[in-house]
């Protein structure tokens, strides 16, 4: 049994001469909430399309839950998908659509209606169950799409831009569903909303021009274990050379009133905080705050500009 929900090796998808995804190598751990981050046209939706079976890879290999991509339908019920820009039959009723996808997900006949009620309740659509799809608002439609993705409690769920176009309340609801109700499942989310991904995901990867340019845990991506930013009180002055000679294992730089510290791999960030702050206090200095790492946004910008 593999530890990975998804493994890809040089996965490529070309449209004519354009490589939308170019030699993608990606491993996603089972049970993680994984964010696939990238700008428009970076290859996120194309990657999702190949995982969802509606795009055929041009070359390369991929395994989903240990099964090769070409046998995707054998994983019936183990995968859920919220595709972007896809339309459900407008004249069909919400309850019928939800029931249909429960059936397709392999939910036994005698439990299908119960499962349908569960997923509709989860996305707060139980009162709109008898409505036709064309009568739903954008937010309700999006929640119906989310409901079909989680029908049958799949082990692996792909959510392509799950909160796009939703108001803040609905966005919070979707986040709560992911955090509270999809526990145990591997969730792969594609989104532009970096702040949201940073809070929601345990792991992530940055895709740029069809290639993965960075991947790891969210702490690694945001540098929470490698960077410290200490805001010094106005009257505090720091002798950088003295600090560097006292704590040679770390790299320091001073930027106005902010002391920045880089913690090499293998060293504890807690130890770095303790040692640095102790040194400042011993020298009679005062601090106003400590910030671990940078934001995902700054890391994303730095990484994509570099590559």
């Amino acid at each position: 049994m593999t530890d990975f929900a998804i493994e890809t090796l040089n996965l490529t998808k070309s449209f004519g001469h354009t490589h939308a995804v170019n030699g993608l190598n990606l491993s996603i751990n089972l049970g993680s909430i994984f964010g696939l981050i990238g700008e428009n046209g970076a290859g996120k939706s194309t990657t999702f399309g190949m995982f969802g079976g509606w795009l055929k890879p041009s070359s390369g290999k991929a395994k989903i839950l240990g099964t090769p991509l070409q046998n995707l339908h054998k994983l019936r019920g183990k995968i859920g998908f919220l595709p972007q820009d896809s339309f459900l039959p407008p004249q069909e009723r919400v309850e019928n659509i939800a029931l249909y996808f429960c059936h397709l997900a392999g939910v036994p006949k005698n439990q299908a209606k119960k499962e349908r009620n569960r997923i509709l309740q989860l996305v707060n659509l139980q009162d709109a169950a008898r409505n036709q799809v064309k009568e739903l608002s954008h937010g309700m439609y999006k929640r119906l799409c989310l409901a079909q993705a989680i029908a049958g409690k799949p082990q692996l769920i792909f959510l392509d831009e799950p909160t796009a176009g939703l108001d803040p309340t609905q966005t919070l609801r979707v986040k709560a569903i992911i955090q509270e109700h999809l526990q145990g499942a591997t969730v792969v989310i594609s989104s532009h909303q970096l702040e949201q991904l940073e809070k929601l995901c345990t792991h992530g990867a940055i895709i740029h021009e069809g290639k993965i340019v960075a991947s790891g845990s969210m702490d690694e991506l945001t540098g929470k274990n490698q960077q410290l930013k200490i805001e010094l009180a106005p009257q505090t002055s720091i002798a950088l050379e003295k600090l560097a000679s006292h704590l040679p294992q770390y790299s320091f730089s001073l930027n106005d009133r902010f002391l920045e510290c880089l913690v090499p791999h293998g060293l504890s960030v807690e130890d770095a905080i303790h040692a640095t702050v102790s040194h400042i206090f011993a020298d009679g200095g005062r601090i106003l705050g400590i910030e671990r790492g940078g934001s995902l946004e700054s890391f994303y910008l730095a990484t994509t500009q570099k590559s």
């Binding site: 995707l72 339908h73 595709p83 896809s86 459900l88 004249q91 249909y100 996808f101 397709l104």
Partner: protein, 299 residues
């Protein structure tokens, strides 16, 4: 099982849509037209009895015999025209039950258009709206395709039932239902069903092929209509231009379902079997081509 789920879901959608209602209306209209046509034919023959007895001063029994003869000649000519076969080669069961013969002939012309109108966007519409993306990770593409084919075949089978019911009621109201009580009625009905199902399913597969080739609904309608026209009239036009013995004409005419229609009317079981085999082969060819294109398409 997945295939049946898809088929039932699609069938529901077909019947709840405006187009589904339109299709039902068209099928119903066909039933009325066939019944009316049959009724007019009978009225015409009755008038001939009346005329014969009035003009020639014949006794009723003599006039009836003369009219029966006229009826027989007219009917045989009509059947020969419909089937494209010499009268002695037409299946006696079909000959013995005029209503099924007329329905079969009318439907073999109307059905392709009905199927075109109800089915042209079967694949182009979900391709354009990316609806297949909700299914591709839960079902194989073959299941998705066959599920839709089953649904559309189901729609036209239900349409046929509607036609049959309306035709029977229309005839009943004119008290001509007695014509159904012939010795060949059941056999004829069975042949009618087999024939019309064979033709319908084959045309369904052809329209599926047209639908998968186009990325838009309008394009699909145009392509399907073009395919139907080419397949139906192409061989005739080509034969007129290059002669019937031309190899290309021969090859092309064998791709057309209309080329084999007469075999389904044949009295010989062997010829009837060849007809079914030919339609089966065409169905497989059209559906196979559709599947190959569909399985390689980005959905």
């Amino acid at each position: 099982m997945t295939l049946l789920r898809i088929a039932f879901f699609e069938l529901r959608i077909l019947f709840y849509s405006k187009r589904g209602l339109l299709a039902s209306g068209l099928y119903a209209l066909t039933g009325f037209m066939a019944a009316t046509g049959y009724f007019i034919l009978n009225q015409e023959l009755d008038n001939q009895i009346q005329k014969a007895s009035e003009q020639e001063g014949l006794s009723f029994s003599v006039a009836l015999n003369a009219a029966d003869y006229a009826r027989s000649e007219l009917y045989q000519g009509f059947m020969g025209f419909c089937s494209g076969l010499p009268i002695e080669q037409i299946n006696t069961a079909i000959m013995g039950t005029p209503i099924f013969a007329i329905l079969l002939w009318a439907l073999s012309w109307i059905l392709p258009t009905l199927i075109l109108l109800t089915t042209y966007d079967v694949l182009s519409s979900p391709l354009a709206s990316h609806t297949f993306r909700f299914e591709t990770f839960r079902a194989s593409r073959l299941e998705i395709l066959l599920g839709r084919l089953l649904a559309h075949c189901g729609q036209f089978i239900l349409g046929l039932l509607l036609i049959a019911i309306i035709a029977i009621f229309a005839l009943w109201s004119e008290e001509t239902i007695g014509l159904f009580q012939g010795e060949h009625t059941f056999q004829s009905f069975l042949i009618f069903l087999i024939n019309i199902l064979t033709i319908g399913v084959t045309y369904c597969a052809l329209i599926f092929l047209g639908s998968v080739l186009s990325p838009s609904n309008r394009g699909a309608l145009f392509l399907c209509a073009l395919l139907l026209t080419l397949i139906s009239s192409g061989p005739t036009v080509m034969a007129w231009q290059w002669g019937e013995d031309n190899t290309l004409v021969q090859l092309f005419s064998h791709l057309s379902p209309t080329h084999f229609t007469h075999k389904l009317w044949h009295a010989s079981l062997k010829e009837f079997g060849y007809g079914l085999l030919a339609y089966g082969s065409l169905f497989t060819l059209y559906l196979g081509a559709t599947y190959i294109i569909f399985s390689r398409k980005n959905l």
